[in-house]
């Protein structure tokens, strides 16, 4: 696995207490680092807010927020803006973790199933929470499906469908980022090998770094948009229920 390559954070592992060894690993610490960076950046964006923006930080923060609320309204509907904090956190966190892979001496935490599964699991739990919060007990009808008399078949199918979302979300993100990190590592190794041919190391990984940035953005957007679609499906009343 990629952890075997080692990162700057590997040096901190021996400092952890004994009980934390099975819980905290390099990916978890990189995730914390990404969270800390994100917190600092967003706190800086939200500091000294003025009605007329006077700093680029505030403009950037407003741009992020407006983009997220716009996405939520587009996918979920006019009331979708209230889900923007969750989806915004999801997007920025995943994006930042994806981009950590291009920093020398770091790995993308999203190249680990521990992180992507955690995010997918949280997303699906939050989707169920939003469904119950918006529609109450009638949200369970979503699992019964149509026609009602086929509930014995429908309920297991829908439950499996919900669970499969965890798998699809986590494996999609993990596979893409892990693959990108692997490609990057191989190209870096290839560049090192090129010393024998070109005397100096050739940065063969550079095009892949640019590609990694693109994939990072796309995968963060895909994860967030899918989460938004799941939320929209959970909070929207089915057509038949609306008619009643």
């Amino acid at each position: 696995m990629l952890e075997e390559h080692g990162t700057w954070l590997n040096a901190l592992l021996p400092l952890l207490p004994e009980w934390a060894h099975g819980v905290v690993n390099v990916n978890v610490m990189t995730g914390w680092l990404a969270a800390a960076v994100l917190l600092v950046l967003m706190w800086r964006c939200a500091r000294n807010l003025q009605l007329i923006p006077r700093s680029g930080w505030q403009t950037a923060g407003e741009f992020v927020w407006e983009s997220m609320t716009g996405l939520c309204k587009e996918i979920i509907g006019p009331g979708g803006a209230r889900f923007a904090p969750f989806l915004g956190t999801l997007f920025l966190y995943i994006l930042l973790m994806n981009l950590f892979g291009i920093i020398p001496g770091f790995l993308s935490p999203t190249a680990s199933l521990n992180m992507t599964a955690a995010l997918a699991l949280t997303t699906i739990i939050v989707v169920q929470y939003f469904g119950f919060r918006e529609r109450g007990i009638r949200y369970l009808l979503h699992f019964v499906g149509e026609p009602r008399w086929l509930f014995i078949i429908n309920i297991p199918i829908h439950v499996i469908g919900e669970l499969s979302r965890i798998l699809s979300l986590s494996f999609r993100l993990f596979g893409n980022i892990f693959g990108e990190d692997m490609v990057l590592a191989k190209f870096i190794a290839l560049g090192a090998v090129s010393i024998g041919i070109f005397v100096i190391p050739v940065p063969l990984q550079l095009p892949m770094v640019l590609f990694h940035i693109l994939v990072s953005l796309i995968q963060a957007a895909v994860f967030t948009m899918l989460a938004a679609v799941y939320i929209a499906g959970a909070v929207e009343a089915p057509a038949e229920e609306s008619r009643r």
Binding site: M1, G22, V23, V24, N25, N27, V28, G31, W32, A35, L38, L39, M42, W43, C45, A46, L49, L51, G61, E62, W65, E66, A84, P85, F86, G88, T89, L92, Y93, S112, L113, N114, M115, A117, A118, L119, L121, T122
Partner: protein, 173 residues
Amino acid sequence: MGILDQLGIEPGALLVNIVGFILLFLLLRKFAFGPISNLLSARAQKVAEDVQQAADARQEADAHLASIQERREELLAEVDTEADQARKRAQHEVQRLLEEARARARERELHAEKNIAAQTERAIQELRADVTGLAVGFSERLLAQSLDTERHQALVDKFIEDVEKMAAEEGQT
């Protein structure tokens, strides 16, 4: 658990990641998204208020402009009336001055005619007195000496000549 191990999933790390993400979400909502969202709401409200104020100000300005235009129309009408009255007053004054000048001229004319008549009368009186004097002188001289026909004729001619001379002198004066 066998599958999880094969996939490299550690339940402890999974749980820590979930907790970490939830904490991050709560902190970002509290310290970043919340304030930004509130600010944008406040800005939207401010913009709506400003737009409303601008609309009110526009309405007020329109009303003010209408009242100014109305007042302007009134003033123009007043100016027209005043000009009309002034024109009429001027025409009346011109007429009055003309009539006054005509009356004065007529008066002077009458005065001149009277003067002429008085002077003519005086000249006639003077002439009459002179003629009377001459006639008296002539009579005195006629009575004082006997006259023959030729002498009589010469006296008469002299008398007529004196009268003509006097008349000529009167005409010159």
